[in-house]
């Protein structure tokens, strides 16, 4: 089995990969939507979203919907590029 040292460690993790895969296919998504689709706990998801946001892979916008706080996430160009590279690397491992 090939090792995965070339795979972006930020993406090569279950929840972060799920979040990124969700965000590549949409324009933007609210935190609760991502939480529901990934079945993650709010705490864990927050941590992973912070990591992705710090890396510049996603853009997090905090606002209000009425009186409720609203967190909206959106993939960045850098994130999209990283995701593409990850998928390409993955394909190469599978071909081996």
């Amino acid at each position: 089995m090939a090792d995965f040292k070339d795979l972006d460690p930020l993406l090569h993790s279950q929840l972060r990969l799920a979040v990124m895969s969700l965000l590549v296919s949409v324009k933007s998504a609210e935190f609760v939507y991502i939480k529901e689709k990934t079945n993650a706990t709010a705490g864990n998801l927050s941590v992973q979203i912070d990591k992705l946001s710090t890396a510049g892979y996603i853009e997090v916008e905090k606002s209000f919907k009425g009186k409720k706080p609203l967190t909206t996430c959106k993939i960045t160009k850098k994130g999209l590029q990283a995701f593409e590279e990850y998928v390409n690397a993955l394909q190469q491992y599978i071909r081996k």
Partner: protein
């Protein structure tokens, strides 16, 4: 996905990617509402237009299209409500929205250019409506809508060919095939 797993196999990674991408497809059934609303407005207005033009002396039968105004208000309120309730914004929703806004501008041009195009307004509106329905069908990958939109390429030449008084009647038939039937299938369909 309760616990964070840092060691994934390539198969697990791929499985996550495909599952999440599938999950993110928007709720295309919501679009049926607009096709039903505008389908019925257009059928009623077209038939009334045809009746008034053919069997009465009413000088401005096209005025029945003013029932489109409450239709626009309902459309704007409904889409505003939908957009603010949506927790995800998809590219396909965005494309569909702009396609139909583009349709709105196109028919305004057609209506105001009426006298320069020999008042062949109805067939031209049908042509645009068909094209936008066709594109919407392609975006949501829904065959009945693609076929429905394509049917306007048959009905529009008929409307151009027949005397102008029949245009609204052809329009009503085209709308039944192009909007209403696909919209009822879409409503029932489990996508």
């Amino acid at each position: 996905m309760k616990q964070e797993k840092e060691h994934l196999t390539s198969e697990e990674s791929l499985e996550i990617i495909t599952r999440m991408i599938k999950t993110a497809q928007g709720n295309v059934k919501a679009g049926a509402f607009y096709f039903l609303l505008w389908g019925w407005i257009s059928v009623i207005a077209s038939l009334a237009h045809f009746y008034l033009d053919m069997y009465t002396d009413y000088p401005a039968p096209y005025m029945v299209w003013l029932i489109g105004i409450p239709g626009w208000i309902v459309t704007m309120l409904y889409s505003y409500k939908k957009a603010s309730a949506a927790r995800v914004k998809t590219y396909s929703d965005n494309l569909i929205m702009w396609t139909w806004i583009g349709f709105g501008f196109s028919i305004l041009v057609v209506i105001f250019a009426g006298q320069h195009i020999n008042f062949q307004i109805t067939p031209l509106i049908m042509l645009f409506a068909g094209l936008c329905t066709f594109i919407t069908g392609l975006i949501i990958r829904f065959k009945p809508l693609i076929i429905g939109g394509s049917s306007f390429w048959i009905f529009t030449p008929i409307a151009f060919y027949l005397p102008m008084v029949y245009s609204p009647l052809i329009m009503a038939v085209a709308i039944v095939f192009g909007y209403l039937i696909p919209a009822y299938i879409l409503k029932k369909h489990n996508l």
